[in-house]
């Protein structure tokens, strides 16, 4: 992984890739409790009032990810992992710098994909596929694969509101991984689901890596990350503190934790 400023005008390679160039995200911050009068005053004064200085969620993040990369995103809470995933999904436009994303992106942030609880599993699969810009024939081809992977039995014909949260994650993961997404962005969520499904997720993510898709997974579980990631990014206070192979990155993170074991939590490992 090279962190020098990349050239964003490369010809399209047709393979999934993500290039971030000096990406910064500056949040504007408002006091939580402001009186109506104060708010009105701020509205009239414009965007930046005296308290509107904000904070940087991401600072000068440059990275270049290519097909086959399975990247573990580690860092303490509030380091900017979710913000970075939102930027890589193309949802947040960086307030400075640029991002170039090639490929269809499936995101599983907190709740999973876009799932409508009132619709059946099958209906949700179709909508999820359409969100991945799949054509009707691609959807028809992917449908049986997704249904088989989710392995929900008759529940696939029932509204999602009857599902347990584990079943919901299975459905979301099945769509994201068996649909035609080139890039998978996953935030924790896959920690849910039962043991056998977790094993299935690991296998599937390894396969996807072998098929030259691109993955970024944010997690606090070292075991989970070790089972399918080959690279790592250690994010701290919105900046890339370290990036390299997975083991190097975990070592860098552990090193940082041992500097202040009182306040810093190590990555989770199997008991």
């Amino acid at each position: 992984m090279v962190t020098k400023a990349p050239d964003l005008h490369l010809p399209a390679s047709g393979r999934p890739s993500i290039i971030a160039d000096g990406v910064g995200v500056q949040f504007r911050q408002w006091p939580v409790e402001a009186s109506v009068r104060e708010q009105l005053a701020r509205y009239l004064m414009g965007r930046t009032g005296p308290n509107g200085s904000g904070y940087a969620a991401l600072r000068d993040v440059s990275l270049r990810l290519a097909a086959g990369d399975r990247v573990a995103l580690i860092g303490p809470n509030g380091a900017g992992k979710t913000t970075l995933l939102r930027v890589l999904a193309g949802a947040y436009t960086p307030t400075s710098g640029r991002v170039l994303i090639e490929g269809r992106v499936a995101t599983m942030l907190n709740i999973g994909l876009y799932i409508d609880a009132h619709e059946t599993g099958l209906e949700n699969i179709e909508t999820g596929c359409l969100m991945l810009e799949m054509t009707p024939s691609e959807i028809a081809a992917a449908m049986p694969r997704i249904v088989a992977f989710a392995d929900l039995g008759d529940f696939i014909h029932r509204p999602v509101r009857t599902y347990s949260s584990g079943m919901m994650v299975r459905l979301a993961f099945a769509i994201a991984s068996e649909g035609n997404a080139d890039i998978l962005l996953i935030d924790e969520g896959i920690g849910l689901g039962d043991k056998s499904f977790k094993a299935k997720v690991r296998r599937r993510l390894q396969e996807l890596g072998a098929q030259s898709r691109l993955m970024v997974v944010a997690s606090h579980s070292a075991d989970l990350l070790r089972s399918f990631c080959n690279k790592g990014i250690f994010l701290r206070q919105g900046e890339i503190a370290f990036s390299g192979s997975l083991e190097e990155t975990i070592a860098a993170y552990d090193q940082w934790v041992t500097e202040d074991p009182e306040n810093r939590k190590p990555l989770k490992s199997a008991p």
Binding site: R86, R98, V105, T127, M131
Partner: protein, 274 residues
């Protein structure tokens, strides 16, 4: 443009956004349908409820107000019916547009789906509901012996198209403004409530003939009246006034520019407001 290619600096361009919406029409059509179905899920009558609700409203209000104004019910009922259906289309679309980005915040913050598509979804579902109510209007017309003319049939798509174009830019502008300033949505809701009574929907514009000033204020210069007129007149078998057509055409052109510019300036920030 490369398929499935996203460049953050390019995404702010409204053309990119509109283009993506057009490309993904299947998704919005599906979501619009799902919205309509979802509203009546697990009810026995399903979407018939919309028609039934409107029918009750129209007959009830029609009889009361027809008597209050002292006009012939057979002439008043079709007028009120057409106006009410047009009003519902406009008011519901405007109200829902205020929440367009807010209710989809999860989607907006985790995918790169185009923003204009949320407006397309609202327009589509309200358009479908409106068309679904046309048989009700035809029923009222038949019952009251009102004429259904070729002019009306030919001009309805024109009027409806003009209204939809205007609702598209109004919706986009409101969605952006309401995401940033959360006080705007309740304000719009209150204004719409007032406008229902102030705009000639339950009463007819020619009752204002006595007052040149009020007529200019509430009828000619009232954009809501122009939108209602463009749909109601064809429903009643006549052509919309030229004023309506000219006003709506200019408003659509000017509004499109406003919406375009507003989206261009604010596109990169909207996700952070949600």
């Amino acid at each position: 443009m490369q398929p499935f290619r996203y460049l953050s600096t390019e995404a702010a361009n409204p053309i990119t956004d509109f283009d993506a919406t057009l490309r993904q029409w299947r998704l919005w059509l599906k979501l619009a349908w799902r919205d309509i179905r979802g509203r009546y899920r697990r009810t026995v009558l399903g979407p018939l409820w919309t028609v039934l609700g409107n029918a009750l409203m129209i007959v009830g209000m029609g009889i009361v107000y027809g008597t209050l104004w002292g006009v012939d019910i057979a002439a008043y009922l079709p007028y009120f019916c057409g106006g009410f259906l047009a009003w519902t289309l406009v008011a519901t679309t405007v109200t829902e547009s205020c929440q367009a980005f807010i209710v989809n915040s999860e989607l907006i913050k985790s995918t790169r789906l185009p923003y204009s598509a949320h407006i397309a979804r609202i327009l589509l579902r309200n358009g479908i509901v409106f068309l679904h109510n046309i048989p009700l209007h035809l029923g009222v017309c038949l019952y009251c012996g009102a004429q259904i003319t070729l002019t009306g049939v030919l001009l309805l798509p024109v009027g409806l198209g003009l209204v939809m174009l205007n609702l598209a830019w109004i919706g986009l502008v409101l969605a952006i403004v309401c995401a940033r300033y959360r006080d705007v949505a309740p304000l719009i809701a209150i204004l719409l409530q007032l406008m229902f009574f102030v705009t000639p929907v339950i009463w007819s514009a020619d009752r204002l003939q006595g007052s040149r000033f009020m007529s200019a204020l509430l009828v000619e210069a009232n954009p809501l009246h122009n939108m209602i007129d463009a749909v109601r007149a064809p429903l009643l078998g006549s052509a919309p006034t030229w004023t309506s057509i000219v006003v709506l055409s200019f408003a659509a052109a000017a509004g499109a520019l406003v919406a375009f510019e507003l989206l261009r300036r604010n596109r990169p920030r909207i996700a952070y407001w949600l």
